[in-house]
Symmetry: D2
Subunit: 353 residues, 4 copies
C-alpha cells in the first residue's frame, strides 16, 4: 500500500486546523476520515445547509462549531485550511473566497461548470502561490491505478495504443441522481461521470486529445430527457500522439458500480476494475458462479480518498504543491465538455487545450 | 449444444457431392470437417495453388481428384455444391461462375472487397433462387453467442444500449499477416478483423448504423505503414435506433486471440469471450493466478465452423435458404468500409445501406 | 486439440464392424458419436432393454439390427468389436462373453463392483492378449487434463505435494440418481463419483495409495439413508511416495457439475475445472458478475468421450493395446472401495494393491 | 465495511493508556495501527529486545518510553491495557503477569504451546472477570468472512456439509520461517498455519471435531526435516454434527499467500479468498490472463487487524467481554495439536474438548 508519509510528522507537529464545506455523501466521508484516519489535522468547523448534517458532525465527529454560511465560517474561524465538497457550481466562488482569505484549499472535482468562473478561479489560485491548492483526482491515489501506472512506466506493456474508461453508476443510484440533477446542473454525463477517466488517460499516456466524437442516449432512462440529462454517453478521442481512447459514462448498470480502465499496449494490456468485486467471496449457487459487486464509488475508493486527503495535509504541512495542478483540472473539464458538445451538435469537435 | 439436425437424414439420403476451392489455414479446416465431421456430404474434389496442399487433401483426406484451375474443376466434376475459401478478391468471380454452373455455394466472408464486383455477385445469386448461397458468418453458430442472443431475445438484459466488439489477433500472427497483406489486399483492419462484429451488432440489435467515426494507428507495428495496413482500428458507430457501438480491430495482443463482444442492456450486461481461455486449467505460479489464452480463431471457433457447414449441407439437402443472406454480407462490408473511409479521410462518414 | 490419428486410415481401411450394449444416458452418447463423429467404424447393431431406445437407434442413427439379448447379438452378428455401456454389475459377464467370442471390447468404468467377478474378468482378458480391451477412463483424453499433465511432466510445477479431486453432481441430478440407486447398486459414493479422480491421482503422481480415511454424510439428502447411499463422501489418502490426496464425491451442488482437480506442486499449482463454466459468456446482473455453470458430465466431457472412442477404434485397427490396462481399472476400484470401507467401519484402512 | 463503533466515544472519552510487548512483523503493524488508526487509545510504552525496533517506535510513532523488560514496563508505567505480540511460548507468562497487575490484555494467537501453561493462563484470566481478555482471531473481523458468515446464518447456502481451509504461505517466506523455527518452537504446521481455520470451522458450523487424521510431508522442503518442521500438513476432521472438514497448511505456494476457506452447503457453496488477488488489476500478457497475488497475511488482513484492535479498545472502554473467549482459544489449540499428533503417531486421534 502506498505510504503517504503522514506519520512522519503526526506526533511532532501541531495539527493543521481545518474546516469543511459540504456534508453530503462525499463530504461526510471526508469529514469522518479527517477525524478518524488522517494524521496531522484537526477538523474544527463544518458548514452545511441541513441541520441534521451539522448535528451529526457535532455529535458523531466532535466538530466544535458549525455554520450554514461558509463566508461566516471562513471569517470567524481560526483555520489554515478548507475542504470544499459543495455542489460543483459553487466551487469557483468558494475557492476564490478561501484563497483570498489566505487558506489552503482542497476542492472536489470538477473545478466548476462555467469556463469563465473556472478561469477566474485559476487566476486567483495562481496569485497565491504559497497557499496549497489541490483538486480531488483521487484515483491517482488508488493502489490499483498506481500499480497499473507503475507497470506502464516500467515498459511492462510496451507503448500505449488504446485506452477505454468506463464510469457507470448502478441502477440503484438513479433515484438520487434524478433528484440531484433536477435541482442542480450535473455538467452532463461526460463531465459528471468521465472526468476522472479523462484525467487518467492524460496521466497514463502523457498525450492530449485533439478531437472528440460523442454520442448520448436515454434508451435506458427516457425520463432523464425531461431534465436535460443523458443516461449513457460514449465518446471516442483522438490523442495527439496517436493513442485512441473511448469513454463511456452511464447510470444504469444492473450489477453495481463499474469503474473500469483498460490500457492496451503494444506488448500487453491491463484492465483495472474489470469486475467490481465487493469482497473476496465467490458464491456458487443456482445462478452459476458469482462474484458479488459493490454499489458505490465510496466503497470502491475509500482508501484512495483517505490517501488523497492525507497527501494534501502533508503538502500543507510541508508547503509543497501537489503534482496535479489546477491546469490539469481545467484541461479535464474542457475535454469532457468537448465530448458533450460533440454529442449535442452531432459533429466532430476539435479540442485545443 | 445446438443441434443442426444433420443426423436426421445422415443415413437415409444420398450424400451431397461437394468440392472445395482453397486449402489454406481455413480451407484445410473446412476440408477436414467435411471429411471427418459433417454428415450427408462427400468431398470429391479440391482446388488449390500449392502442390503440397493438394497432396495433403489426397493422402490425408482421401479426396479423389485435385485441381489447380477452379473452372476446370467445376466444369469436369459431377458435383452439387462448392465451398469457396480462396482469397477474398476472388470470391465474386468464383461465386458467379459456380452459380451459373448450377451449384450451391458456400462462400467465406467477406463477400469481396470491390463493391461493383460484389453487386454483380449479388445479382447473379438472386437470379438463381433455387440454388443455396450461404456466407461464412460462423459466429452466429457459436454456442456462446447463441446463448447470449437467447438471453437478449428473452429480455434478460432489457433493451440494448451499447455494444463493443473486439477482434484482435495475437502478436504471434503478425509475421504471417504481413506476408499475406504484402501479397494481397486485406481490405483494411475493419474489413479484415471486424466484419463479424458488424454482423453481430446488426444481429443483436436489429438496428443499422447511420454514422461512423474511425481512427487507425500503427504505434505497435510501424512496419505495416509501408504496406498500407493499420495495426489498430477503432470505430464508433451511431445506430438508427439509438444504440451506440465501438469496434476495435488489432493485430498485437500479447496474450492471444481476443474476440470479445459486450452487450450492455438497460437491465444487465453480457460479455462473450471476456478472456480467451485456452482450456479449463488455472495456473498458480510466480506470476500470480493465470488462465492461459488461445492463439487462433480456429481453436476458438472450431465447433462453430463445423455447425455452420453442417447447417449449410442441411440447407442444400432440404432446399432451404439460410437466415443470413447475401444482403447481410453486403451491408456488413459497407459498414466496415465506412469505418475505414472515416479513418482515411479524417471525418465522420454517413452510412446509407 | 489432441489428434488421435483417426483420419490417417479413415479413407483407406475397411471400417471396423461394431455393436453396442446399453443405450441409456451415456450409451446413447457413445452410439451417436460412433455414427456421426468416429472415423473407421460402422455401428451395425445395438442391444438395449427398452423398445424406444432401440427404435431411436434404428430411426435416428440408422443402426440396422437391434436386440434385447446381448448374447444373441454377439452370437448372430458379424462384428469385430463391442461397446459395453450397461449397468456396472453386468460389465464382467458381458466382457467375459465377448472376449471369449473373439471380440475387441470397450467397457465403461468401473469394471464391476464385485472383486471376484472382476478378477475373473481380468483373467479372461489376459488370456486373449491379441484382442483389444479398453476401459472408459475418458478424462485422460480431456484436453484440459492433458494440458495439466504435460505441465507436470515437464516440471512446470516442481514435485507434486498434494492433490484434491472433486466429483460432485448437481442437485438437478438427484431424482434420476435416486431412481437409479433404488434399482441398482451404485457401488457407493466413492466408486460412483471418484473413481476417475483415483485414476487421475495415480496417473499424475505415479504413486499408489497405502492408507485411506473416509467419511460420509447425508446431511443434504437424508432420504438417501433408506437406500444405503451417501450424498457426500470425503476421503484422505496417504500415497506411497509421500503425496497426500483428498477425494470428495457429492450429489448436491446447487450450481452445476463440479469436476475439479487440484495439483499442488513444490513450485506451482494447477486447478482443472475450478468453475464449471457453461460457455464463454459472463453475465453482469443484479446478482453480481456470474459465469453460468454446466449441469452434466456429458456436456463437460463430450470431446473426451469422442477422442477416447476414436483412440480405441484406432487401437483396434492397428492392433495396439491402450495405455490404460485392466489392472489400472482394478486398482482404481480397490482404492475407491477402501475409502468406502473406511467410512463404513469408522477406521483407517490400509490399501495393498 | 463493518463499523466497530470506535467513533462513538472517540472524542468524548479519555483515551485508554496502552503498552505493547513485541515489535516484530505483526507487533509493529499493531503498534502503527494503535498510533495512526485506532480511536480512543494512546500507545505510551513499548517493549522489545532489539534496539532498532525500540528506536523506530520512539522516532516514527512517538512512543514516549521503551523497555527491554516487560515486567519492568508493567510495573512502572501508568497503563490500563497491554498488547502481547511476543513469540507464542511467552504468551502465558506475560498474560498471567499482566492480568495479576490489573491490566486488560490483548494477546495474539495462539494462546501458547504447552497445555499446562495455557490452562494456568486460562485460570488466571477467569479469576479477573472484570478485566478484558481478547485473543487475536482477527479473521472473524475480516469483511469477506463476515459476509460469508452472514449468508450462512441467513440460510443462503442451506446446511453446511463440508468445509476446507487452506493456510499456505508463499515460498518467499521460507527463509524467514526457517530462521524463526530454528530459534523457536512454531508449534508445528497445523498450530502455526491452521489455527485460524479451526476457529472459523467452529464459528461457521457451531460443531466440534471429534476425530482427526493428519498427514504431513516435506517433499517441497526437505531441509525442514532437520528442524523438526513440516512444509505441508493435511488433516481431515469429523465433526460432532456430521460436517466433514479438511485443513491444509503449507509453506510453499509459488504464487502468494493462499488463505482460502470453502463452505459447502446443501444449497450453495462459498469460497473466501479463492485467489489471493493483490489488487483490482488484470494483466493480459504472454502468460495469458493473470491476476497478480498478494504475498503476506499483513496485506491480506490489514483492515481486519485494525477492526479487531478497535473492537478490543471499545470493549475495554465499555467494560464488555469479547465474543471470542479464552476457551475458544484453548479448543482451537487442542484441535490443531490433535491433527499434529495424528500425523506424528500415524493413527486416528479422538478429540475430546
Amino acid at each position: 500500500m502506498p505510504d503517504w508519509g503522514g506519520h512522519h510528522n503526526a506526533k511532532n507537529n501541531t495539527p493543521i486546523r481545518a474546516a469543511i464545506i459540504g456534508l453530503g455523501r462525499l463530504g461526510s466521508r471526508h469529514a469522518r476520515h479527517l477525524v478518524e484516519k488522517i494524521q496531522g489535522v484537526d477538523l474544527v468547523a463544518a458548514c452545511a445547509l441541513e441541520d441534521d448534517q451539522l448535528q451529526w458532525a457535532h455529535d458523531e465527529l466532535g466538530v466544535e462549531t458549525t455554520y450554514k454560511d461558509y463566508k461566516e465560517m471562513i471569517d470567524k474561524e481560526n483555520i489554515d485550511t478548507i475542504f470544499i465538497v459543495a455542489p460543483t457550481p459553487f466551487h469557483p466562488e468558494m475557492t476564490i473566497y478561501a484563497m483570498n482569505a489566505g487558506l489552503n484549499v482542497f476542492c472536489e472535482k470538477p473545478l466548476g461548470l462555467d469556463f469563465d468562473e473556472v478561469a477566474e478561479m485559476a487566476k486567483v489560485i495562481k496569485e497565491h502561490p504559497k497557499q496549497i491548492f489541490q483538486s480531488g483526482f483521487m484515483r491517482r491515489y488508488d493502489e490499483s491505478y498506481r500499480y497499473a501506472k507503475k507497470i506502464v512506466d516500467e515498459g511492462g506493456i510496451g507503448d500505449i495504443i488504446y485506452m477505454r474508461g468506463y464510469g457507470i453508476d448502478p441502477i440503484s443510484g438513479m433515484e438520487s441522481f434524478t433528484k440531484f440533477a433536477t435541482e442542480a446542473d450535473s455538467g452532463g454525463i461526460f463531465v459528471d461521470m468521465n472526468i476522472h477517466d479523462v484525467d487518467l488517460i492524460r496521466w497514463f499516456t502523457g498525450q492530449e486529445p485533439v478531437q472528440a466524437y460523442g454520442l448520448t442516449s436515454n434508451l435506458a432512462a427516457p425520463e432523464l430527457e425531461k431534465i436535460g440529462e443523458s443516461e449513457t454517453g460514449v465518446a471516442q478521442l483522438k490523442m495527439n500522439g496517436g493513442v485512441i481512447a473511448t469513454l463511456i459514462g452511464g447510470r444504469h448498470a444492473a450489477h453495481g458500480n463499474q469503474v473500469e480502465l483498460e490500457v492496451m499496449g503494444s506488448n500487453g494490456w491491463l484492465r483495472v476494475g474489470e469486475h467490481p468485486d465487493l469482497n473476496r467471496v465467490t458464491v456458487f449457487n443456482e445462478n452459476g458462479v458469482t462474484r458479488p459487486s459493490l454499489q458505490s464509488f465510496g466503497e470502491r475508493f475509500d482508501n484512495a480518498f483517505t490517501d488523497e486527503v492525507q497527501d494534501f495535509v502533508n503538502n500543507v504541512a510541508k508547503g509543497t504543491q501537489p503534482n496535479v495542478t489546477v491546469d490539469d483540472g481545467i484541461k479535464a473539464l474542457k475535454i469532457a465538455k468537448a465530448c458533450q458538445e460533440s454529442a449535442d451538435t452531432v459533429q466532430l469537435v476539435d479540442i485545443n487545450l
